[in-house]
């Protein structure tokens, strides 16, 4: 990872001093462990702020929306696919971007590590090829890196950026997985009542804080349907019906666009697995339209276009 840091800084310094871009958007170290945060750097002397580690799960495409300047942006596999989606949806122009591609090794799951620490406060977290070593006052704990990857990273098959101007390292080997949708299929196998109860249970802690929506690069509407009051599309309470309606619609607005970057799930303060909904849609869009979001520039998402051969089995 550390070689990535040097490379990212070198590229950023070059781009800024040669005036190829106005800003570089990347990550910097957070103030507490496992919380790398987005950073916008505009002067070559500041590039040493930039950093890269296993905690860069925030999706930087979210910071590109409707910008008008020239931007160097650090992008892992999923970010690059969201950049493609952004370009297709006219949220940014390709010419404005210099994409610093980062072949990704997967991000570690901060919330599961914290849960395993059971209240112990980590002060340093070091990740090597196989292990995550967490230290704090009077303790040291080791976790297997592969096991403690973010759930979406464990099932990611596009770790290398799909668009880039420059890569910071050789491409990584993509994961070969038997079934990326095992969790979705498990739910599909339940009866309707079981499904209903299952989602009642997992959605119950939702606070309607909308962090999941705000973290998602797909959610760029100037006024989100949840915030509209004229007309008011859904209730603003934490009544289970309102919560469910919110989740149903949020997910559906991402249908055929979601890259499973996991930024939504990562942002949730109460660890709701919101990706179970978007993943179901990803699976369906793959089955029905043979489409994976953000892989090819110039192709609009399937629900955005009409084709005579669109699947219509549900219409009587």
């Amino acid at each position: 990872m550390l070689e990535y840091v040097g490379k990212i800084r070198d590229i950023a310094r070059r781009l800024l001093s040669e005036n190829k871009v106005d800003v570089v958007i990347g990550f910097r170290q957070g103030t507490i462990p496992m919380m790398s945060e987005p950073a916008v750097v505009s002067r070559p002397e500041d590039v040493d702020e930039l950093y890269w580690d296993y905690n860069c799960g925030i999706n930087l495409t979210n910071y590109l929306t409707k910008r008008t300047d020239r931007i160097g942006v650090v992008a892992k596999g999923c970010d690059s696919r969201n950049i493609v989606t952004h370009i297709v949806e006219n949220q940014i122009k390709r010419e404005q971007l210099y994409i610093i591609g980062v072949p990704c090794h997967g991000m570690i799951d901060r919330s599961r590590i914290l849960a395993a620490l059971d209240g112990q406060e980590p002060t340093a977290v070091v990740v090597n090829d196989t292990e995550i070593v967490v230290t704090g006052p009077g303790f040291e704990r080791k976790f297997n890196r592969q096991e403690y990857l973010q759930n979406n990273c464990a099932t990611c098959i596009h770790r290398n950026p799909v668009v880039y101007d420059e890569l910071v390292a050789e491409k990584v080997e993509e994961q070969k997985l038997d079934d990326r949708y095992a969790d979705v299929k498990k739910i599909e196998a339940m009866s309707p009542d079981e499904k209903w109860a299952f989602f009642d249970k997992i959605l119950a802690p939702c606070l309607r804080c909308y962090a999941c929506r705000n973290a998602c690069p797909l959610c760029y509407c100037p006024t989100c349907f949840v915030d509209e009051s004229r007309p008011q599309w859904l209730g603003k309470s934490i009544d289970p019906t309102d919560v469910r309606t919110f989740h149903f619609l949020r997910a559906y607005h991402c249908a055929g666009r979601c890259t499973d970057c996991g930024a939504c799930e990562r942002a949730c303060p109460v660890n709701i697995p919101v990706r179970l909904l978007t993943k179901k849609l990803n699976m369906d869009v793959e089955d029905l339209y043979g489409f994976e979001p953000g892989m090819v520039p110039d192709v609009r998402p399937p629900l955005d276009v009409y084709r005579p051969d669109d699947p219509g089995g549900f219409i009587k």
Partner: protein
């Protein structure tokens, strides 16, 4: 896909129906309306997406 997601979240298959009927297709309209009514009746009254009482802050 919308029907798919609703059913994935626990709405009964048979609760929601889609059809495309031209204003000239009166027979089809009757047929579809009957099937919808039968299937929904068979499922019984809706249990979901109902608010028992208005939520007052």
């Amino acid at each position: 896909m919308m029907k798919g997601l609703l059913e994935y979240m626990g709405t009964e298959p048979g609760r929601l129906h889609f059809s495309w009927i031209s204003s000239a297709e009166s027979t089809k309209f009757v047929e579809v309306a009957n099937t919808v009514a039968e299937e929904v009746k068979a499922l019984g009254p809706a249990k979901h997406f109902i608010k028992e009482k208005a939520e007052v802050a």
